[in-house]
């Protein structure tokens, strides 16, 4: 699409990981029987008064601190008025005029290019109830109603579907690192309204914006954007005009469709929520929250490259998941061979976890055991195939690698006398190959090393075997 330049902005709703709801003490994130975690506040009974969850405010402020927002020391709640049975008060409590966090930015990398995506603001609000549409009626479950949400609104700084996904991925990593949210998309922890427009190449003014509401998979967002940007550009190419509208994504058909305007109010008549006084934070509290922030993924990635001499690629794989990065670091601290530890974690460990569908928390192999396994290989006590066997035992049952090596008799034969014996046998049984080697065919040695390995039932140290063979063959 070189004739049109896309601009994409996102409104990301994230359910915060709190024990209770935003404005009442009902347990949050309960997936149990419908309407079992409800009270007068979250089902919107008249006269019920909201009381803020301080932990939700703390978590939203921490997100602002992570992305460099200006934290509002005084913020306010507003009422967003609309009629829909998922919100029986007929308004959502949200923040419009004075949100908690203003500005900020997230660094992304897409297609090998680094880019800064500016954030307009982050505000605090409450989730709506869950509606199930039946044949002739709709059924409403208020367990989800008033779950704490933060909404992060970006500037229209992304210019491709890939950049939008890179932004969401970076944000998700960050939120999981800091324990803000589990960001489980299948459970609806992260939902997105996607704004997009196109403008002719060589012009500056943003085109007419279309909003795709309520997207809940990264794949869906990518596909919807690909479709939508092409639709807009094609409309303009044909000389048509675009209207600012709200659309929805039909995943099966793979198209976006305009939403009927009745489904979507255009005038929410925001006004200050009279039931909640302002949120006033003092600078010392905000600074204390800042001190709680974890090392962020991008920072950790850079540190892994610097401190452990890892390639960028390794650092990226290891830090994509906070628990994996912590596991690596615990093992690396006990090891001298950081790259080998990285290889084991990225290779065997992630593969084994993937096969079992497990997380690192379930792994029986301790970081110390992995470091010890690396040391056994480096000391040539065991060779690589044996090390993989030991790994498998450690992964299934845990334990101490040295003990497993001993128990299974996997230690390499490094005893010079024994290896000499194997070398002599190998030469005697393969005179022709030995002669070729003596005649200058270097590759013939590998065959003889293989024979020594076979005679030793895989336990000979291949390096020592090669040395012994060379000696015996007079080189």
């Amino acid at each position: 699409m070189s004739d049109y330049i896309p601009s994409i902005g996102l409104e990301v709703h994230v359910q915060l990981k709190t024990r209770t709801k935003m404005f009442c003490a009902c347990p949050a994130h309960e997936e149990g029987e419908p309407n079992t975690t409800v009270c007068p506040v979250c089902i919107g009974l008249p006269g019920a008064l909201p009381v803020m969850n301080r932990e939700a405010i703390r978590k939203t402020v921490k997100v602002g601190l992570m992305i460099g927002s200006r934290i509002s020391l005084r913020s306010m709640f507003d009422r967003k008025n609309y009629f829909y049975p998922d919100m029986p008060k007929n308004y959502q409590i949200t923040q419009q005029a004075a949100p908690l966090c203003i500005g900020g930015a997230v660094e992304i990398e897409a297609g090998g290019q680094r880019k800064t995506i500016r954030v307009n603001h982050i505000h605090q609000e409450e989730d709506a109830a869950k509606i199930t549409h039946m044949e002739t009626t709709s059924e409403i479950d208020f367990n989800r109603a008033s779950t704490p949400l933060m909404e992060l609104v970006t500037e229209p700084d992304m210019s491709s579907p890939d950049e939008a996904i890179a932004f969401l991925t970076a944000l998700k990593e960050m939120l999981i690192y800091a324990g803000i949210s589990d960001c489980n998309l299948e459970l609806g922890h992260m939902r997105c309204d996607v704004n997009s427009s196109v403008r002719p190449s060589g012009t500056d003014k943003l085109g007419v914006k279309c909003e795709i509401k309520n997207m809940n998979t990264f794949k869906g967002i990518h596909r919807a954007l690909e479709y939508e940007l092409e639709r807009q550009a094609e409309t303009l190419r044909k000389g048509g005009t675009l209207v600012q509208e709200t659309r929805r994504w039909d995943d099966e058909a793979g198209i976006t469709l305009p939403m009927r305007s009745k489904e979507y109010a255009h005038d929410y008549r925001y006004f200050p929520e009279p039931d909640l006084p302002p949120v006033v934070l003092d600078a010392a509290t905000v600074e204390a929250w800042r001190a709680e922030l974890p090392e962020l993924p991008a920072v950790r990635r850079a540190r892994f490259v610097k401190d452990y001499g890892l390639p960028e690629y390794d650092a990226g794989v290891l830090t994509a998941d906070k628990a994996i990065s912590e596991y690596f670091e615990a093992a690396a601290k006990k090891s001298k061979n950081f790259k080998a530890v990285s290889n084991w974690v990225m290779g065997e460990l992630l593969r084994a976890l993937g096969e079992k569908g497990q997380g690192i928390a379930d792994a029986k192999i301790s970081p110390e055991a992995l470091a010890a396994l690396v040391a056994l290989v480096d000391a040539r006590t065991i060779n690589m195939p044996a090390a993989k066997d030991v790994f498998q035992v450690l992964f299934e049952n845990g334990g101490d690698p040295a003990a497993i090596v001993k128990e299974k008799g996997l230690a390499q034969v490094s005893d010079a006398g024994a290896i000499d014996g194997f070398a002599e046998q190998a030469i005697a049984a393969n005179e022709k190959v030995a002669a070729e080697y003596r005649g200058g065919k270097e590759a013939a040695l590998m065959f003889l090393v293989g024979q020594v390995m076979k005679l030793s039932r895989g336990k000979a140290n291949p390096q020592l075997a090669a040395d012994a063979l060379r000696r015996k063959l007079g080189k």
Partner: protein, 101 residues
């Protein structure tokens, strides 16, 4: 689409506001309420004649701050009580006329 209300508009269209509130008005009601709405706005509009350049904006009428609590769960209503006044309930859910997505 009817005229929208904005803070600077001199007049608020009663039919537009009634539409947002899902209220049906007869012509006679609309005319009467439009007059009342105009009177109210004119009355409040008198504030515009005052010089408030040195006065800090007041967005709340209370001195209270931070109506918050710690993140400790407490028991709610219980499902039967919650549903007791619902005009219609089924499968433990509130039932309403079908709303189209």
């Amino acid at each position: 689409m009817a005229m929208k209300f904005s803070e600077n508009a001199d007049r608020m269209d009663v039919r537009y506001v009634a539409g947002l509130a899902r209220m049906a008005l007869s012509d006679e009601e609309a005319a009467r309420l439009q007059g009342q709405l105009d009177d109210i706005l004119a009355f409040v509009g008198e504030l515009k004649t005052l010089d408030v350049s040195g006065v800090e904006a007041t967005d709340v009428a209370t001195e209270a701050r931070n109506a918050w609590r710690e993140d400790e769960p407490a028991a709610g209503l219980g499902r039967d009580t919650a549903l007791a006044n619902a005009p219609l309930a089924r499968h433990g859910q509130f039932v309403v006329p079908k709303v189209i997505e």
